[in-house]
């Protein structure tokens, strides 16, 4: 157990009655409930927490919030290991394991810190300059080396065991940030009755009040915040969300917010997600995100022990943890002085205040006199030190003299940058305000208003007034007329204006962007080499491109570029941001859509039965379809599929085809409508008949195919392919609503309403007689090929029977309401037993369609015309239809187009594979001799050899030609014969019976 050597004896917002054990790099330590990992490390006297990205410099904690660039650690272990987590926002819990990153073999002795010695080659753009030659070494040497050296933390290697979810919320006014401004805004809006959501990224509401104290409405600010929160909690129209960062704003008032539901616990409780990603629809939003203190750029400004002034007093006042025993302050503004007051109040020594301003208030002089420290008018131009912290602090005094300050902590304040990221997400460019030397929001997204420090109003009184006004006006804009109540008040002390200090020149590395190791001299180099625009600066130096998005560095970098190029800051440019405001885990973005829940799963009506049979399933879109039904003793899929095909062709089998898209087309103009969407004619189809139909896209290419039946004068039943069920429905609705509104026709998707089975084979009638009412005439005369009608099944269920065939066998498709699908399939098996019935899967279905030369997905690939598929004769010349005009274009009717042909290897034992290119014999395989390719293949049990379909230029004139099948991907080259695509029963006698 460590002793919490740097914990004050009293004070702070920590719960000393709840100690918490944790480890850092394996070393056991203790903190308290209410600590962050960073504050607990501070309390344990830990200064060195990580190594920097490029130079492996020793780094400490710089800030106390989500802007932290340095203190990135790995949390947890095993499958929950989480890299690059900010110690400053990670809440401490009992048992927390944390580890430093980017060091080897240990944090104190890091081998790659030699990179500092080689630093001349690590300047901006070093990737482009250093690893230029030879190019071949990039992949094998440079990139692996750079990746090993430059990575930060290590991701977990096992699947994340925790769950994540996404949720929607709606409100009138969203308040982002729960400091004084946000609380005031939420109170004002909430009192009017508006629905308010108040989010804060921390656990406790109050923002800077938690660290800086002060008085509001004549009470301690902590008491005021508690009272405000209690009033908000009592309002039923207000929702308070802690640990929730508003991370983005999108069109139409949609905001994203990340709620860290269980990050503060070792393991999420049962049925509770780790994180929740919110989409909050807000009619108005108030950005009360506060401001971020900026460091000053000077040599050695990254030595552990150098901290932003506000962070230092947060650790001292809020966490009763002392980053140093004897502190110095380097500031250019009055706010920094609050850290001196906090240090003195905690009984710490103050070594000196280095203030860049000549004018120091009487009160500040009095403070210095009372505490016995010097006020030095000048600037810190070097901090010496390293992994053990600060050695000494060198000061260049205004008059030219020098001074040295001995301190183990240096608080730095270069002023404050409003946290305006949310306001710039719609490309609203911030505007420069000289009086505070900072950018403030301008032209935020519609309905958004920045208030308080986020809008450049830094005083407490100003924040309260601004927040109240923003909340009240958002509510009144929306028509909430009840009173917003009285604004809270505070007194702001008069301030001496800030005097901008961005960069103090001196010897040594002066860091602008700590996380990406971008120095002031990198920016100077970028300017010298011509990369002076902000956009170039960013990309050339990587300034602001780390996971902190340059929250502490962008404005300073811009200011240095402005100084180097002799321009003003607003002339140099502005910097805007992209969401998310804080790094968001992939888990939160995925929510519940992971693993088997990545998408919905659709099960066919016979699925459970097929599962009982041990079927092997294949994913086709969202569907799971039975691919084949293995039997004991079968050595592989091919043996099972071959058996299924042989059984169907010699006996009877059935296949679940419920996945086909099914659309009911109703109305007096149903036939006319179908005539316009299919290339062939349906208005003349007799009631009780089915017809194969082909649809084109408007550009003339084939879109989809299927059979459509006429069930009544004004009722057609249309089927689509499985893959295109949704798109065809959308297309038909487009035609109906947008193109042909004059037609009286209605479309209804009935894909899920019907269980449909194809029953095929010479014994199909024998089987059907067992399940169909004996009164039904199933003979060729009573039920001819392409006939359709409703029949009664034994037992009374009504079914639709379609005499259509995809397999080329005598076949029927039977459909029953989906709820009877399972019963039907069990009945088929029982009734079919005497005939040796088997179920067959999609593989056997595919084999039989290739044997019959039927085209499917691989041929309907978006580049083929009806003519290419051998279906050109179906194109009616008597009517307009979608795609007709464009299908007539020269290139779509050219004689050298690739058309569907049959293909078989000349060596009967040879396996054919799809994707092989068809090259004329004697030619070298190259693009100019590539005449086509193999699209679909199967082993044909009927021909006892591999066969296939392909697309071949002038293919119909080349039947009998032997060509070379060239397959460079698999290293195969063999001879094939081009043949008629209908391999089996070309006369079609079997299906016509």
């Amino acid at each position: 157990m460590s002793s919490q050597s740097h914990r004050l004896a009293s004070g702070g917002l920590i719960d000393r009655s709840t100690p918490m054990n944790f480890t850092f790099d394996g070393k056991p330590m203790t903190g308290y409930a209410g600590d962050t990992l960073a504050s607990a490390l501070v309390a344990n006297g830990v200064r060195l927490v990580g190594r920097s990205f490029k130079y492996h410099r020793p780094r400490g904690i710089l800030t106390a919030g989500s802007e932290e660039p340095n203190a990135l650690v790995e949390l947890r272990s095993g499958a929950r290991r989480e890299p690059n987590t900010k110690a400053t926002t990670a809440e401490l819990y009992d048992g927390l394991e944390a580890a430093s990153q980017n060091r080897w073999p240990s944090l104190r002795h890091d081998f790659l810190s030699v990179n500092q010695l080689a630093s001349p080659i690590f300047v901006a753009g070093f990737y482009y300059k250093t690893f230029m030659w030879p190019a071949a070494l990039w992949e094998k040497l440079y990139e692996p080396l750079i990746r090993r050296a430059a990575g930060l933390g290590r991701a977990a290697e096992a699947p994340d065991p925790d769950s994540y979810e996404k949720a929607w919320a709606h409100c009138d006014v969203l308040v982002a940030g729960g400091g004084p401004t946000g609380l005031a805004a939420a109170l004002a809006a909430g009192r009017t009755g508006a629905r308010v959501i108040l989010c804060d990224e921390g656990t406790q509401f109050g923002g800077r009040l938690l660290s800086d104290g002060g008085e509001i409405d004549s009470m301690p600010s902590g008491e005021w915040a508690a009272k405000a929160l209690a009033e908000l909690e009592a309002l039923p129209n207000v929702r308070i969300m802690a640990r929730t960062t508003v991370t983005g704003v999108y069109d139409g008032g949609v905001h994203s917010a990340l709620e860290r539901v269980s990050d503060h616990l070792p393991v999420p409780p049962a049925h509770t997600p780790r994180q929740r990603l919110w989409r909050i629809v807000a009619r108005r939003s108030v950005v009360a995100a506060g401001a971020i203190e900026r460091p000053i750029v000077f040599p050695g400004n990254d030595v552990p022990g150098v901290m932003t002034a506000s962070a230092m007093r947060t650790y001292i006042s809020r966490y009763a943890a002392t980053p140093a025993r004897r502190i110095a302050l380097f500031t250019n503004n009055d706010d920094g002085w609050k850290t001196v007051e906090a240090a003195l109040a905690a009984g710490l020594a103050v070594a000196a205040v280095v203030d860049s301003r000549a004018e120091i208030s009487a009160a500040q002089r009095e403070t210095a006199r009372g505490a016995g420290f010097a006020i030095l008018n000048g600037a810190v131009d070097r901090v010496d030190g390293g992994k053990d912290g600060i050695g000494s602090i060198s000061v260049a005094l205004a008059g030219g003299a020098r001074a040295t300050v001995e301190a183990d902590g240096l608080a730095v304040s270069g002023g404050w940058n409003p946290a305006l990221a949310l306001t710039s997400y719609h490309r609203g460019r911030p505007k420069w305000r000289n009086d505070i030397a900072a950018f403030v929001p301008d032209s935020p997204p519609p309905g958004m208003h920045a208030a308080g420090a986020a809008n450049g109003s830094f005083g407490l009184a100003a924040c309260l007034a601004d927040g109240h006004a923003a909340g009240a006006s958002a509510a009144s804009d929306l028509g909430f007329s009840k009173s917003a109540g009285k604004a809270s008040s505070a007194a702001d002390a008069p301030e001496t204006p800030l005097s901008p200090v961005w960069h103090v020149a001196g010897k040594g590395k002066a860091f602008v962007d700590y996380q990406n190791d971008v120095t002031a001299s990198d920016i100077e180099l970028s300017a010298r080499e011509g990369f002076q625009s902000v956009e170039h600066l960013k990309r050339y130096t990587t300034l602001g491109m780390a996971t902190d998005q340059g929250k502490t560095s962008n404005v300073s970098g811009l200011a240095i570029m402005a100084a180097v190029t002799g321009r003003s800051i607003p002339e140099t440019g502005t910097t805007i941001y992209r969401p998310p405001y804080v790094p968001t885990s992939m888990g939160a973005l995925a929510g519940t859509n992971r693993g088997e829940h990545f998408h919905a799963t659709r099960l066919t009506p016979s699925h459970h039965w097929a599962e009982e049979q041990g079927a092997v399933f294949v994913d086709t879109g969202l569907w799971k379809r039975a691919q084949w039904y293995p039997r004991a003793g079968e050595k592989d899929w091919l043996e099972s599929v071959t058996r299924e095909v042989r059984t169907v062709r010699s006996g009877v089998g059935f296949c679940d085809v419920s996945t086909l898209g099914k659309i009911d087309v109703h109305g007096p103009d149903a036939g006319a409508f179908l005539d316009r969407v299919y290339i062939n004619t349906f208005s003349t189809l007799a009631v009780g008949k089915a017809r194969y139909g082909l649809m084109l896209r408007e550009d003339g290419m084939v879109y989809d195919d299927g059979t459509t039946s006429r069930l009544a004068e004004d009722h057609y039943f249309l089927t689509t392919t499985t893959a295109k069920a949704g798109p065809v429905m959308q297309h038909l609705e487009f035609c109906r609503q947008v193109l042909f509104p004059e037609l009286d026709v209605q479309l209804t998707s009935v894909s899920d309403q019907w269980a449909q089975f194809s029953i095929a084979g010479p014994k199909v009638r024998d089987l059907l007689r067992e399940i169909v009412d004996p009164e039904e005439d199933l003979s060729n005369e009573g039920f001819p090929f392409m006939g359709v009608r409703e029949v009664a099944l034994r037992g009374g269920i009504r079914a639709r029977l379609f005499r259509i065939s995809f397999s080329g066998e005598m076949a029927f498709e039977i459909s029953v309401p989906a709820r009877f699908g399972d019963a039907l399939v069990r009945n088929l098996m029982r009734a079919g037993e005497p005939f040796g019935i088997i179920p067959y899967g999609t593989e056997a279905l595919g084999v039989m369609r290739v044997e019959k030369g039927h085209v499917a997905g691989p041929e309907l690939n978006g580049t083929t015309t009806a003519g290419d598929l051998g279906l050109g004769k179906m194109m009616s010349s008597k009517k307009d239809y979608i795609g007709r005009t464009m299908a007539g274009r020269d290139a779509l009717t050219a004689p050298d187009r690739q058309v569907v042909v049959g293909i078989r290897p000349t060596d009967k034992a040879r396996r054919l594979r799809s994707g092989a290119h068809l090259i004329p014999m004697g030619e070298m395989p190259e693009p100019s001799t590539d005449h086509g390719y193999v699209t679909s293949v199967c082993f044909s049990p009927m021909l006892d050899q591999w066969i296939g379909l392909g697309l071949l230029a002038r293919g119909r004139d080349r039947i009998g030609e032997v060509m070379r099948a060239h397959d460079p991907l698999r290293g195969e080259d063999y001879d094939v014969e081009i043949c008629n695509p209908v391999f089996y029963d070309p006369e079609g006698g079997r299906q016509r019976g």
């Binding site: 139409g252 989409r279 509104p741 005009t885």
Partner: protein
């Protein structure tokens, strides 16, 4: 982004799919291939307000004509697209 479907109310954009410009009118067969080429392929790249076709596939399956500013993404009107692409009878 959210679209206020005239039948279903404001719904999130995941329920909709986008087609494109709502102004082209499908030429009749007699207008020939040039008119059809224009209709199928040629679109203006509008910077500003444009009328677009959106399909509410995750809702009522209505095709909608949405007036949207491509610069600000602001949606100023949503109506049923009924007949938006219909050839005008007698106007060839």
């Amino acid at each position: 982004m959210r679209i206020a479907c005239p039948y279903c109310g404001p719904r999130e954009n995941g329920e909709f799919s986008y087609l494109g410009d709502a102004t082209p009118v499908r030429p009749s067969l007699e207008q020939g291939v040039d008119a059809m080429l224009d209709y199928v392929f040629l679109r203006d790249n509008v910077a500003g307000e444009m009328q677009e076709l959106w399909y509410h596939g995750g809702g009522c399956r209505a095709w909608l004509k949405v007036t949207r500013n491509t610069l600000t993404h602001e949606i100023s009107a949503v109506e049923a697209a009924r007949g938006a692409g219909a050839a005008k009878v007698g106007k060839r």
